[in-house]
Amino acid sequence: MAQPLTVSLPPNLELWGGCTIQVTALDPTTGDHVSDVDVSNVTLEVALVEGSADDLVVGPFMLVTGPEG
């Protein structure tokens, strides 16, 4: 298994249409995106303020249905 790591995320950050969330790897010195690193199984846990869960589906991002879904 790959090493498990945790990184702090801003709390209570409300985002709206047009905002972007990039899951990436950064160079520790320059802050640039690092090539030759792949990302997979990206999950976003969100608390909806406006809109419906079905609206969250964009491109390759799909809605994860729970036991009640």
Partner: protein, 249 residues
Amino acid sequence: MVDSQILNPSVEAAPSTYVLPDAVRFVLKAVNADYTDNGAADAWLPAVVIASDSGHVVSYAVDQGVSVAAGDDAAVSFFPGIKHAAGGGATLDLPWAAGEADLRSNSTRAAYFKTATTDSNLFSYDSFNKQWLIFEGGTYLYFTHAVFQDAVATTPAATRFSFASAFANVGGGHPFMELLNHPLQVGVLEFSGTSARWDLNESEIISLDPTQTPMRISTTAACSSGANLLAGMTMGIVRISTSALLNPF
């Protein structure tokens, strides 16, 4: 608010980007991703970069302390409230001395029957003279706790207890300074015809010039009813800085 989870299972070269649809507003609670190194030349930092609809960055969720070595993979969770333990920090390890003393002898220096120190080159107890010695300059916290109790049911009238620590230096130069600047004598209490118990605490912050070492510390207790006194004390002294503050006020 209802929690929802969205997933992108595909493998993508970083970054993997999610753009919020116009109809949606949400609070981002957590992000998780698997990272696979495909030949990065150097170590890298897993990160989540959040930008507003204008393209300006709102935040970088990244930690210089969470680095992945080149060639390694990682499973990374991002969520609020993470505070990593400081790595490589020095552990606080201040030199100290402590003792327990018998105060039953009237008007004589306290005789310490238990002593301990972490640095015998800095602190020493002179059992003959009943003095603690400090051999180096610096700033020290000195504290004592004493308990006095008259042994008889009815204390003789006008019984007095007193307790004081005395500080003395040798050598020339600046004298030591008590930064707290309060009297050394911590108290005198008079009882009349009742059995009594008296708890005393004394604390001093002492600045000791290196030219004045060694400093000598002794404690004296007195009870006018002499042999009726039951009393003991504990003391401690800690060097809190190797620097002496000669003119603190």
